[in-house]
């Protein structure tokens, strides 16, 4: 079983769960490996080419669509039912249930992207983030939060994968989508062009080298105070504990500020990370059966809690009840960063947290959405406009053509 949480704390938690499982099932051996996403991709490709995939692995929501279409994975309804379908957040389940009514994966944990802001940089600026509703509100206040070169107002990541995230989150917040109902790209739509213009206006408030910053650099920048705001996920709490001065490691300094809507949008959109476990059809039958047993065991409260506690504010439990449970919420890290958890739960309950590239919910059924998510086409479009001054309409048209020629044509 391949997962994407290689850090020591999670490995220890998984090992404990595996050991307990193997004690109860002496005839089953579970080999659980953790690795980074890029490495998982490469290993998976080599394994699939050799027709020997792992029994199960983590994957992205959009990949489930294409794997399912090609018969590479199997549904996991039995696991979901055993865990308790009604115990899980509906908005977690909605993304792994497909039109045939079956569940094609089971989310290991979830999180949402948030806009983080330094409360200690508000003093004297007159800025009230809680009052932000639209992009214009935000753009108006950004210069007040920008004290370059001491610190910048916003730090974005310049890696293709993360730039793709910003493209779709802001397009969705501007009331648009990246695809039409047939799955063709609609990058020259007014909403997407509006998003590109908006991004251009952000540039003066960002560090000059943002286009080379990887995601973790932006988190460190926020923790060390080189930036007032950042788009981030729950594990940033760990960065703060590691890199911020001791007296600042709390949510009064590191606040969650609201995301805003574009002129053509009604509600902001954020990214929902709910990577599911999938079971590969090509694995031997007995291994698949054993895997299902293991997954049912894994999600038992006493075991699952260990897993979630290994990266507390980042790996959020899929069970609604846990967020009312004092033993879950009372865990020190969760208690300390409660505002962050509240913000994430609010997103999940509002239904405006969508998986990567999915602006309209039915977009997740587009067979090539995974290929577009991994490719740098959208990121190239954004950096051409923002960094090299290309005309947005021309850049969008070029990106449309590339998606058609290099991705869709290959998928037919």
């Amino acid at each position: 079983m391949w997962d994407t949480e290689p850090n020591p704390a999670t490995r220890a938690a998984v090992k404990a769960i595996v050991d307990d499982f193997q004690k109860q099932h002496k005839d089953i051996e579970v080999r659980a490996e953790g690795m980074g996403w890029g490495d998982m991709d490469r290993k998976l490709q080599a394994a699939m080419a050799a027709k020997s995939p792992p029994t199960a692995s983590h994957t992205q929501t959009y990949v489930v669509t294409s794997f399912r279409a090609k018969g590479l994975i199997e549904p996991v309804d039995d696991v979901v039912k055993a865990i308790g379908e009604d115990k899980i957040f509906p908005s977690v389940l909605q993304w792994i249930k497909y039109p045939d009514g079956k569940y094609w994966g089971i989310t290991h944990a979830w999180g949402t992207d948030m806009l983080g802001g330094r409360g200690d940089y508000l003093a004297g600026t007159g800025v009230n983030p809680q009052g932000w509703k639209t992009w214009d509100d935000w753009l108006r206040d950004l210069p007040k939060l920008n004290k370059a070169p001491q610190y910048y107002a916003l730090s974005l990541s310049g890696i293709p994968f993360f730039m793709n995230e910003d493209v779709y989150m802001w397009t969705g917040s501007n009331g648009g989508s990246l695809f039409d109902d047939k799955g063709n790209p609609t990058l020259d739509s007014p909403q997407v062009l509006g998003m590109l213009e908006f991004w251009k206006k952000l540039k003066p408030s960002m560090p000059a080298g943002w286009a080379s910053h990887d995601y973790l650099e932006t988190l460190s920048a926020w923790a060390t105070g080189k930036t007032a705001q950042v788009l981030m996920w729950g594990r940033t709490a760990g960065y703060i504990d590691q890199y911020a001065p001791p007296e600042k490691r709390n949510p009064d300094v590191f606040q969650i500020w609201p995301k805003t809507v574009g002129p053509m949008g009604k509600a902001p959109l954020t990214q929902f990370d709910n990577e599911p476990w999938v079971i590969y059809a090509d694995a031997p039958a007995d291994e698949k059966a054993a895997c299902r047993e293991f997954l049912k065991f894994f999600f038992k409260p006493e075991n699952y809690r260990k897993y979630c506690n290994s990266v507390p504010v980042h790996l959020n439990s899929i069970f609604k009840a846990d967020f009312q449970d004092s033993s879950y919420m009372g865990f020190p890290e969760r208690k300390r960063w409660k505002p962050w958890l509240d913000a994430q739960v609010k997103w999940v309950e509002s239904g405006r947290a969508h998986p990567l590239l999915v602006c309209n919910p039915q977009d997740r059924l587009i067979p090539w959405i995974g290929d577009v998510a991994a490719a740098p086409i959208l990121a190239d479009m954004a950096s051409a406009v923002v960094e090299r001054g290309k005309d947005p309409r021309a850049a969008a048209k070029e990106a449309n053509e590339k998606i058609q020629r290099d991705i869709i044509a290959k998928n037919k």
Partner: protein
């Protein structure tokens, strides 16, 4: 230019020039090492201080502690030593014998074979990943340090053959002829006449081969799955993928990976000097 002893009288200007070049080389190569070392000893919140500090305000060994006690670093270290030593020894042996054969024996197609070995270098290794994995699986070489070593050997051998060939070509045939006339056989001629004179080239080959296997990441990633067999490169790569990346830890790992190898190579520097004059033939 032959090695000059330090006692040679040099004009002050050229001495100053020589020393500024030496110091320049030192700073150019060593500054990032210095930065790594210093960063590994800084407290985490000072690592990303702006403006950056050249010396830690607070010194701590936390990163090294974590490296040795909270990660499998030591196991990875041992695995990598085994694979690298195995690879280097085999490449030297096969390379010396092969290069000797290429220079001292005539047989049809030897130029062709030499050139064809360059083929593998003309694809980016990343593309060779999937077919090499398939090949390794066929021969049961996955999850074994020997399989990994074989991959590295096949990568380093062409270079070894080419470089050693150039060194052997520079050694006049008359020296071996003299030895053979004196009653030695081919193997002895190779071992006692040719190899000592080509020793610097052999050391250069050893350095390259060792570093190739010490640092390789891609093939170790795909061929090794079991945690207890992983190499340093994989271990270090994992440090970049943790939930919270600890830059101090990574710097400590970088220091621990480089310094031992560095000390070893400083120690064998003296053997880079050839034993010229062993043959006794006039040029």
């Amino acid at each position: 230019m032959p090695e000059r002893s330090g006692r040679r009288r040099g004009r002050p200007l050229s001495q100053a020039a020589a020393w500024s070049l030496r110091i320049g080389l030192f700073v150019f190569c060593a500054f990032p090492l210095y930065w790594m070392l210093v960063s590994s000893l800084k407290a985490s919140h000072e690592l990303l201080a702006s403006p950056p500090t050249l010396l830690p305000r607070e010194w701590e060994l936390r990163a090294y502690w974590k490296l040795f006690y909270e990660t499998n670093f030591w196991t990875y270290f041992q695995n990598t030593i085994i694979v690298s030593a195995l690879t280097t020894v085999i490449v030297i042996v096969a390379g010396v014998i092969g290069a000797y054969s290429l220079t001292r024996y005539t047989f049809p197609g030897r130029t062709f074979i030499a050139r064809v070995t360059l083929l593998a270098y003309m694809f980016p290794p990343i593309i060779m990943l999937v077919p090499l994995f398939l090949l390794a699986r066929e021969f049961g070489l996955t999850n074994s340090l020997l399989g990994l070593a074989l991959t590295y050997i096949s990568f380093a051998l062409p270079y070894a053959l080419w470089i050693l060939r150039a060194f052997f070509q520079a050694i006049p045939v008359e020296l071996e002829q003299a030895a053979l006339i004196d009653g030695a056989n081919r193997a002895q001629a190779l071992a006692f006449v040719v190899m000592p004179l080509a020793l610097p080239g052999i050391i250069a080959t050893a350095i390259f081969t060792f570093i190739v296997s010490w640092n390789d990441f891609l093939f170790a990633l795909v061929l090794i799955g079991k945690d207890e067999l992983k190499t340093l490169a994989i271990g270090i790569n994992e440090f970049f993928h943790m939930a919270v990346v600890d830059w101090g830890l990574i710097m400590a790992a970088g220091v621990m990976v480089t310094i031992p190898a560095l000390l070893f190579f400083v120690a064998i520097q003296r053997y880079l000097i050839a034993g010229w004059g062993a043959g006794g033939l006039k040029g």
